[in-house]
């Protein structure tokens, strides 16, 4: 909310500049986001009175006025029709500067000397259009600077009151806070008091007493619609309210002044001499002031006349009873509505107004009558010239349920226990009292105080709230700041995080950047990777961000495309994040954590060798290393079971064999990896081959790898024997190695593949597999015969199992 410092100063004596006021408010919990200095765009213009205005001897449309500045009487030539004797005017003296860098000089106009200029609003930059010269109130003292009397020099504080403090949405409310901490009285305009002699001839009926706590209606007759006085328009504009006309402006002015929303109905357009406050029926609709037709529901509260709804209570008035240019009689509503209902209606209709904003935060129920009297007086005061309005001394006033005054049991010792302070009870009592809380006087020992909450603070409901009030009043800077205390913790979460950091570090050391993608994707970006129905947002920002990702791959693919498009030779990255899959009926979506990686294009090359592109084995190495670091074992790659977005010949399911049972039925699926299917890559406009893998992170992180059980290694030197066997093309290398392992030959320490060759020399349908056997015995050097025997056993087995021949 925008606050005018000039306005605040009318309600509390503030012996400080705007900067200090802003600081004080921030310290009190009303954050001041910005301070804007409003400065008049003119100088040298004073209040003066026209003593006499006579026709210019040489010009029909000009007058020569004798004008009293309070210090001297000057002769001024003026062309405005409304220049007349007795009028208070804005006089630009010689030397005055007006907007547009225009300097006033003594000049001769058709032979008559003019010692200045009588100004219009437009000439002073106060409005874009104006008719005639400014007419200032008679009460203004002559000789004063116009900029000062109109309050054109001001500071505007842009505040952001927290959602609990509806009372800070007005100038008087904020002034009350300042008055409390400064020990100053709060000055409120006097509106008179007393009960109305009798009731208006308008029936008032509250059918929804739980929603409407108080309703006061007043009638002002004989009004005339006109622009508001200049100062009021300037003030409203300064706090961000667009001036409309005197009647509407007064309700807005009182709203900004005290925080009580008001509504002015055109009395003649109310029918049936009756006001009914009731809930909407079904079906029912009404057109609000903004011209929108609103379909209502039974939780909406309405203000109705004898026939129809005339306002959506607390939210917006109806078009049918709007103030118009010919309005003369006004029915002025001031009411207290229950916050939750106003909020529900406002939210359901997406209709926010200054009024609903305040009602849903809780308006001070004690304001209803004050604001009604204040607005009625202002309406009568600022009616169009030539009218003589009358405020009907009678009113209608009915009550429903208003919140009861809250009384809270409060122990000053509790304050100190919560805050870690030593505020004595006297200090605490002063704090609460200054802030408007009533405390009972007995201050004897252990008994808690009963503290009664002021009507404007519906947010204060329990002792913790009072503790905050005490702290706020005394100042948070008065709470000590002891050294930070450390405690011991199990750090189980940190241990898991450390394992994840190890995996991230591994991938980074292999050249992969960590990517971060939004959790939301479009259906079309997700569907190539997962055809199942995704979890959708009810209120997405747009179609591009409408469903939850069920895989990390769409994001990484977009990152690859982005980087290639921007001239990168390749891109290697990984992402760690949550994915979501629709659960079975009646269950929440399944949420799991994944790690995905992508390799595309060329790794960094070197001048000494040929540049090469990432291939399947780069991906496999990364995945194997990742899993090995995580759980101490290398995963199993199984082809033939991969989804459609992967190249069927260049992809695999990745799983973890059971440590005890070996490869088989008990494999734990981790994910999948391989080359993107050429068709998928094409659809994503990725020209270079792309290799991707995505694994569940849970199995890799949730259990720490079992501690390593060291096995002594043999120190006898090993013998290496290479043999190349020719086997049918479909033979899997893993099966060949497994067959050799299955022989359980103790002398074979390890078998590795050193070569793969396909070509004419090995014949069609076959390939050569180069195997390197490492042989050794624990206790002796092997003899040539032993070595040959082992190699022969291997060869015989491979021939029997795979039809292998020695190359």
């Amino acid at each position: 909310m925008k606050l005018s410092v000039n306005w605040l100063r009318e309600s509390v004596a503030l012996d400080m500049d705007a900067e200090e006021i802003a600081r004080r408010l921030t310290t009190l919990g009303l954050e001041v986001e910005s301070q804007v200095h409003l400065q008049p765009t003119f100088s040298g213009v004073v209040v003066a009175r026209v003593l006499e205005a006579v026709r210019h001897p040489n010009a029909d449309k000009l007058q020569v006025a004798r004008v009293d500045t309070g210090r001297e009487v000057l002769s001024i030539v003026c062309g405005a029709a409304n220049c007349r004797a007795g009028l208070n005017v804005a006089l630009a003296l010689p030397g005055a500067r007006l907007p547009g860098d225009f300097e006033i000089k003594v000049s001769k106009i058709r032979g008559e000397t003019s010692h200045g200029m009588l100004c219009s609003e437009k000439e002073l930059g106060l409005s874009t259009e104006s008719e005639g010269i400014i007419e200032l109130p008679d009460s203004m003292e002559l000789g004063q600077a116009v900029a000062a009397v109109l309050g054109l020099e001001d500071w505007i504080l842009e505040t952001s009151p927290t959602a609990n403090r509806g009372d800070l949405l007005s100038h008087l409310g904020v002034a009350r806070e300042l008055a409390a901490v400064l020990g100053q009285p709060l000055l409120r305009p006097d509106v008179g008091q007393g009960t109305s002699p009798s009731t208006l001839d308008i029936g008032l009926q509250i059918d929804a007493p739980s929603s409407c706590g108080r309703y006061i209606g007043r009638v002002i007759r004989g009004l005339g619609v006109a622009p508001s006085p200049l100062w009021m328009r300037r003030r409203l504009e300064a706090v961000g309210v667009r001036p409309i006309n005197n009647l509407v402006d007064v309700t807005n002015y009182v709203l900004m002044e005290c925080g009580q929303p008001l509504h002015a109905f055109d009395l003649r357009r109310l029918s049936g001499e009756k006001i009914v406050v009731r809930n909407a029926r079904e079906p029912e609709s009404m057109t609000t002031l903004d011209g929108q037709s609103r379909v209502l529901c039974p939780t909406d509260l309405l203000i109705c006349d004898g026939e129809r709804p005339v306002a959506l209570a607390g939210v917006m008035g109806g078009l049918n009873t709007e103030i118009s240019a010919d309005t003369t009689d006004v029915f002025l509503e001031s009411a207290w509505f229950e916050p939750k209902g106003i909020r529900a209606t406002s939210r359901r209709l997406g209709l926010r107004s200054e009024s609903s904003h305040r009602f849903e935060r809780g308006v001070d129920p004690a304001l209803t009558d004050w604001a009604s009297r204040r607005a009625a007086a202002l309406l009568a005061n600022f009616s169009a010239a030539g009218t003589s309005p009358s405020i009907d001394p009678r009113c209608v006033d009915a009550r429903g349920a208003t919140p009861e005054r809250v009384s809270i049991s409060f122990r000053p010792a509790r304050t100190n226990r919560l805050l870690g302070t030593t505020f004595n009870s006297g200090t605490q009592r002063v704090a609460l009292t200054r802030l408007g809380f009533e405390t009972d006087v007995q201050d004897s020992g252990e008994l808690p105080w009963q503290v009664v909450v002021p009507t404007w603070r519906p947010d204060v409901t329990q002792a913790a709230d009072l503790i905050e009030e005490v702290a706020r009043y005394i100042g948070f800077d008065q709470i000590p700041t002891p050294p930070a205390r450390a405690t011991l913790s199990a750090r189980t979460g940190h241990a898991r995080d450390a394992r994840l950091r190890l995996l991230r570090g591994l991938l980074q050391s292999r050249g992969c950047h960590q990517a971060l993608n939004l959790t939301f994707v479009s259906r079309s970006r997700l569907s190539p990777f997962d055809a199942s129905e995704p979890v959708a947002l009810h209120n997405p920002l747009n179609e591009e961000l409408s469903v939850l990702r069920s895989t990390l791959l769409p994001g990484l693919m977009a990152n690859v495309a982005h980087n290639l498009r921007h001239g990168a030779d390749g891109f290697a990255a990984f992402e760690v994040g949550r994915v979501f899959a629709a659960g079975p009926e009646g269950e929440r979506p399944r949420e799991s954590e994944r790690i995905a990686l992508v390799l595309c294009g060329s790794p960094a090359g070197h001048f000494s060798g040929k540049a090469r592109a990432y291939d399947f084995f780069d991906l496999k190495a990364l995945v194997d290393e990742l899993v090995q670091v995580a759980v101490g074992r290398v995963p199993v790659w199984t082809s033939g079971e991969t989804p459609a977005f992967l190249h069927p010949g260049l992809s695999a399911k990745v799983s973890l064999a059971d440590a005890n049972l070996g490869v088989g039925l008990h494999d734990l699926a981790l994910g999948r990896g391989g080359a993107l299917h050429p068709a998928t890559a094409r659809a994503l406009e990725l020209d270079a081959p792309v290799f991707v893998a995505e694994l569940d992170l849970g199995p890799l992180l949730d259990r720490p790898a079992s501690p390593v059980a060291f096995q002594d290694f043999m120190r006898v030197p090993a013998v290496r024997r290479d043999l190349a066997v020719i086997v049918p093309t479909q033979t899997l290398s893993a099966d060949v190695l497994a067959a050799i392992r299955a022989l359980s030959l103790q002398l074979i320490d390890d078998t590795t593949i050193f070569d793969i060759y396909e070509g004419t020399s090995v014949g069609p349908g076959r390939y050569s597999l180069g195997l390197s056997l490492r042989l050794r015995a624990r206790d002796r050097t092997l003899t040539e015969d032993e070595i040959n025997g082992v190699v022969q056993r291997v060869l015989t087995e491979l021939t029997a199992k795979f039809g292998a021949t020695l190359r």
Binding site: T27, G29, E31, T162, A163, N164, R165, K340, A344, E360, R417, L418, L419, Q462, A463, A464, D465, A471, R472, F476, I479, P480, T481, A484, R485, T487, S489, A490, R491, H494, D497, R504, Q508, S509, G511, H513, Q514, A515, L516, L518, T519, F520, V535, H538, N539, P540, L541, H562, N563, A568, A572, A573, R578, F580, G586, R588, P589, E591, H606, F607
Partner: protein
């Protein structure tokens, strides 16, 4: 001296001379092995002379043997000298000829970077971990209860407007939403364990108020400390130490009253940038209603909670000007964060 001995002496002299000249002519250590074998080996030129010893008179034999041994020793010395010379020569040659332009690039691969948001997150987790806050997390899809109601934020409260919420389509389970804050982890933790509780919960949060400076997805880290004696002074002490470690020891830190439904009193904490106060985190004493909601007795236990936005912190720390960089994953952006940055 017999003729035979003279003849032997002459032969040995020839062999030694021959060996000397051969060794003189070779350039590599590897050539030494066959030459040595040709002289000193089993089939070398000395072997027949040794074999011939048996044919000599018994009286001449010791002298002949001695002659051969002397020569053999001399030859071995010669060969060893030659070997040392050749090794030395080889080293000198290598050192004299091998040269590289040391300014040429190494055979390196690209180093992947930790995402800047992750770096800041890691630092915060480490720093808070040192105090004894244990790391924990919770689901990103939440219920109204955990995200709002149990945190003292009923739907009827205007505080709900502080956080525009993404709801899931009302298909299978009603009222599911993307968590708007990491605070539901507080509730989940307190519901599952007895006090004392001291945790941090980093993670993604979601709000549908995206614009040029906000992403609909961003990162928060939440802290919670509940015990019998944790006071607002502890809040100030802990967060002041935390922020000074993060921003610099001399930075003024300001605590000002604010409002969060789940804390009372609530504070916002600002750090002085040198020209203005910058809001960096929100905190407060956990609201008694929240404590009651999780079955704690607010007369028995009390404590504080805090939360801060990680993305903004990363942008400030690294001088990142546009939030889009954080989500674009452009290698030209990421590469700049390879060096990492501990606090």
């Amino acid at each position: 001296m017999s003729d035979a001995l003279a003849e032997l002496q002459r032969q040995l002299a020839d062999i030694e001379r021959e060996a000397r000249s051969t060794l003189h002519s070779i350039a590599r250590e590897s050539e030494l092995v066959p030459i040595r074998a040709g002289v000193l080996g089993k089939k070398g030129v000395l072997s027949p002379l040794l074999a011939a010893l048996g044919k000599l008179d018994g009286s001449a034999r010791p002298a002949a043997g001695a002659l051969i041994n002397v020569t053999k020793l001399a030859l071995e010395v010669l060969f060893e000298e030659a070997r040392l010379r050749l090794v030395q020569q080889a080293i000198e040659t290598r050192v004299a000829t091998e040269r590289v332009d040391v300014t040429l690039p190494g055979r390196r691969s690209e180093i992947g970077a930790t995402h800047p948001v992750q770096q800041v997150m890691d630092d915060l987790v480490d720093l808070l971990g040192q105090f004894g806050f244990d790391l924990t997390d919770g689901p990103e899809v939440e219920t109204e209860d955990y995200n709002f109601n149990l945190l003292n934020m009923p739907a009827s409260h205007p505080a709900r407007d502080m956080q525009d919420t993404f709801y899931l389509q009302n298909g299978l389970v009603a009222g599911l939403l993307m968590r708007t804050q990491t605070s539901p982890v507080q509730v989940r933790t307190m519901l599952s364990q007895k006090p004392p509780v001291r945790i941090i919960a980093p993670g993604k949060v979601f709000r549908c108020d995206a614009d040029a400076t906000h992403s609909p997805v961003f990162h928060q880290i939440e802290g919670l400390w509940i015990d019998t004696d944790v006071t607002m002074a502890d809040l100030k002490g802990t967060l002041t130490h935390f922020l000074r470690t993060l921003y610099g020891d001399d930075r003024p830190v300001r605590f000002r009253p604010s409002f969060f439904p789940f804390t009372e009193p609530s504070v916002e904490v600002d750090v002085w940038t040198g020209t203005r106060w910058m809001e960096v985190l929100g905190a407060g004493m956990v609201h008694p209603n929240v404590l009651r909601n999780v079955g704690y007795d607010p007369e028995e236990v009390q404590g504080f909670a805090f939360g801060l936005g990680v993305d903004r912190l990363a942008m400030i720390r690294y001088g990142i000007t546009d939030i889009r960089y954080l989500w674009e994953n452009d290698a030209r952006f990421l590469r700049q964060f390879v060096a990492g940055g501990a606090v």
